[in-house]
C-alpha cells in the first residue's frame, strides 16, 4: 500500500512543477502571485522526503514536515497540517474518506476556515463527500475546483479583495485539485 501512497505524492509533486506558472497566475489575480512558486519549492522537498523508508503513516509525516518547513505562506502550514492529520488517521484506518475528512478538518482548524470561504477547503470537503459516496471522478474534481470561481473569498489574501475576488479560481483549490487527480491516478483512493 505504501507504494501507492508514494506514487500519489510523486505525481502530485510532478504536477506542481508542471503547473507552477499557472498556479502563480491564479494567485496573482486574487492574491500575491506566489502560490505556484511556494508549492513547487515544497514539491522538491516532498520528493526527497519520499526516499526515507517507513509505513504509510511515516510517508505522510515526512511529507508533512517537508511542506511545513519549505513552503511557507498560508499553504505551507495548511498542507502540512492536513498531511499530519492523514499520517495520524492512516495509523487508525484504511478508509480513505476518513483520511480526507481528517485532512479537511485539520485545514479548517489551522485556517479557521469553513466551506464556502473560497479556499482549498472547498475542494477537500466535496472530494471527501464524493469519496464517501464512492462517486469521485476526475471530472468531479475539476468541477469542485471550477466552482470556487463564483465564491467570494472570506479567508486568505483573496479576502482583502471583497467582491473583486469573485470570478477567479482559488489557487489553493486548484493545487488541491491536482492533489486529488494524483490520488485517483495513483490508485491511492482504495487500499
Amino acid at each position: 500500500m505504501v507504494d501507492k501512497i508514494k506514487k500519489w505524492l510523486e505525481l502530485f509533486a510532478a504536477q506542481l512543477h508542471e503547473k507552477k506558472t499557472y498556479l502563480s497566475e491564479l494567485d496573482s489575480a486574487i492574491g500575491d502571485g506566489d502560490h505556484g512558486n511556494n508549492m513547487a519549492r515544497g514539491a522538491d522537498f516532498l520528493l526527497k522526503s519520499l526516499d526515507q523508508s517507513g509505513d504509510t503513516s511515516a510517508v505522510f509525516k515526512n511529507a508533512a514536515m517537508a511542506l511545513l518547513s519549505k513552503v511557507g505562506g498560508a499553504s505551507g502550514p495548511l498542507y502540512g497540517s492536513a498531511l499530519l492529520a492523514l499520517s495520524k488517521k492512516a495509523g487508525e484506518t484504511d478508509d480513505r474518506s476518513e483520511w480526507i475528512a481528517a485532512g479537511a478538518e485539520a485545514i479548517a482548524h489551522r485556517g479557521k476556515s469553513e466551506a464556502g470561504d473560497k479556499t482549498m477547503l472547498d475542494v477537500w470537503l466535496p472530494v471527501q463527500k464524493a469519496l464517501a459516496d464512492g462517486t469521485l471522478t476526475h471530472e468531479k474534481i475539476d468541477a469542485f475546483v471550477a466552482e470556487t470561481k463564483s465564491l467570494k473569498a472570506k479567508k486568505g489574501r483573496a479576502s482583502y479583495l471583497g467582491d473583486r475576488s469573485v470570478g477567479h479560481i482559488d489557487p489553493g483549490a486548484q493545487s488541491s485539485g491536482y492533489l486529488f487527480h494524483a490520488f485517483l491516478e495513483a490508485g491511492a483512493d482504495h487500499a
Partner: protein, 329 residues
C-alpha cells in the same frame, strides 16, 4: 523584468549575506534559515523578534539592533517564513526572559508564527506575540480575514523594542502591544505594481494614468482604481479615510510615517507629506513625531502609504525617539 540579481531563487539568501555584511559585525545569521540576529544581545531582557516575507526591505532586518529587534526572520519573497525558521530565531535570541513576536495579520504569517510559538513553548521558552492589523483599506468584518498588517508595523517594532531595552517584562510588553496596535492605522496608494523576481511580471497592471488606492504590500490589488491625481488630492483621500477610522479630535497627539513603497523617490514622499500635514494641522492634530522614507516596501512598487499612530501614552513618544543603531531606523 529588469533587476540586479543572479538567480531569483537565490535572491533572499544573497540579500541576507549582503545585510549581515553591511552590519559590520553587529549582525549574524543562522545559515539556511533566513534568520538575522544581533551578535551581542543584552542579558536578562525580553528579545523582540519579527519577520515575514522578504521584499519589504529595510523591514524587517534593517531594524535589528539595540533598542529595536533582536532578530528578523526573512521568508521567501512575499511569503511567510516557515515555523522552523521562526523557531530557530526564537531559540537563538532567548535570554531567559522570553521572546516577543511581532506578526503581521496574514493567514500565512499568523499560522507559521503560531506553530513556531508552539514548538518553542514545548522547549520551555516563554513566547508572547501581537498581530498587527493597521491597514484600513480592508474593512474589518467577521466575514473576512480582518485587516492586513502593513507599514505601521514599524512603529510597533520601535515602541516595543524600546520597551525591551528598558527591561520591561514580557507580560507588560504584551499589555503595551495590545494597547498600541488599535492606535495605528495605515492607508496606501500605488502607481505601479511590484514584480516578484520568480514571477517576472507585475502583480497587476496599471495604465499610464491609473493609480490604485488601498493596495497591500504583497502586490495584492486595492479597493479602487482611479486616474492619476495630484499629491494634494491623494492626501485628501487618504487623510479623510484615516480621519474616519480614528474619529480624531483637535489637540490629539500623533506620530506619522510617510512610507515609500519601494520605487517612489523621496522627493515625492516629502511633497506628499507637505500636503498631508496641512490637512492634519487644519484639524488641529499635534504631530510629535515624523518619519518619511521607504521603510516597509513592496519590492519595486511605486506609491506610498500614510500611517498615523495616536500617541495615547507619552511614553510611546519617548520610545519612538529612543536611541538606536540599526541599518535603517
Amino acid at each position: 523584468m529588469k533587476k540586479i540579481m543572479n538567480k531569483p531563487e537565490q535572491a533572499v539568501d544573497e540579500m541576507v549575506q549582503g545585510i549581515v555584511s553591511a552590519g559590520c559585525g553587529q549582525l549574524k545569521n543562522i545559515p539556511e534559515t533566513g534568520v538575522i540576529y544581533r551578535s551581542e544581545l543584552p542579558k536578562d531582557k525580553v528579545a523582540l523578534v519579527s519577520g515575514g516575507g522578504s521584499g519589504h526591505e529595510p523591514t524587517h532586518a534593517g531594524f535589528v539592533g539595540d533598542g529595536i529587534l533582536a532578530a528578523a526572520v526573512c521568508g521567501s519573497v512575499f511569503t511567510s517564513p516557515t515555523p522552523d525558521q521562526i523557531y530557530e530565531a526564537i531559540k537563538q535570541v532567548d535570554q531567559g526572559k522570553g521572546v516577543f513576536l511581532v506578526i503581521k495579520n496574514y493567514s500565512g504569517d499568523v499560522m507559521n508564527f503560531e506553530m513556531a510559538k508552539d514548538l518553542a513553548e514545548a522547549d520551555g521558552i516563554r513566547v508572547e506575540s501581537v498581530v498587527v492589523d493597521d491597514d484600513i483599506a480592508v474593512e474589518d468584518s467577521t466575514y473576512t480575514e480582518g485587516k492586513r498588517g502593513v507599514a505601521g508595523t514599524v512603529f510597533v517594532h520601535k515602541i516595543l523594542g524600546a520597551e525591551a531595552a528598558r527591561g520591561t517584562t514580557i507580560d507588560e510588553m504584551k499589555a503595551v502591544a495590545d494597547r498600541i496596535v488599535p492606535n495605528i492605522k495605515t492607508l496606501g496608494v500605488a502607481l505601479k505594481a511590484a514584480t516578484v523576481p520568480e514571477v517576472g511580471k507585475p502583480g497587476f497592471e496599471l495604465g499610464d494614468t491609473e493609480i490604485e488606492f488601498g493596495v497591500g504590500i504583497h502586490g495584492e490589488p486595492g479597493y479602487r482604481r482611479e486616474s492619476l491625481k495630484t499629491s494634494r488630492e491623494l492626501a485628501e483621500e487618504i487623510v479623510s479615510k484615516l480621519k474616519n477610522a480614528f474619529q480624531w479630535s483637535e489637540g490629539e497627539h500623533y506620530a506619522v510615517l510617510v512610507n515609500g513603497l519601494g520605487a517612489t523617490p523621496l522627493m515625492e514622499q516629502y511633497i506628499f507629506w507637505q500636503d498631508a500635514e496641512k490637512l492634519l494641522k487644519k484639524d488641529g492634530l499635534l504631530i510629535d513625531f515624523i518619519k518619511v522614507g521607504s521603510l516597509t516596501t513592496s519590492l519595486d512598487m511605486e506609491g506610498l502609504s500614510l500611517t498615523l499612530c495616536k500617541l495615547e501614552d507619552a511614553r510611546w513618544l519617548e520610545n519612538l525617539k529612543w536611541e538606536t543603531h540599526t541599518l535603517a531606523w
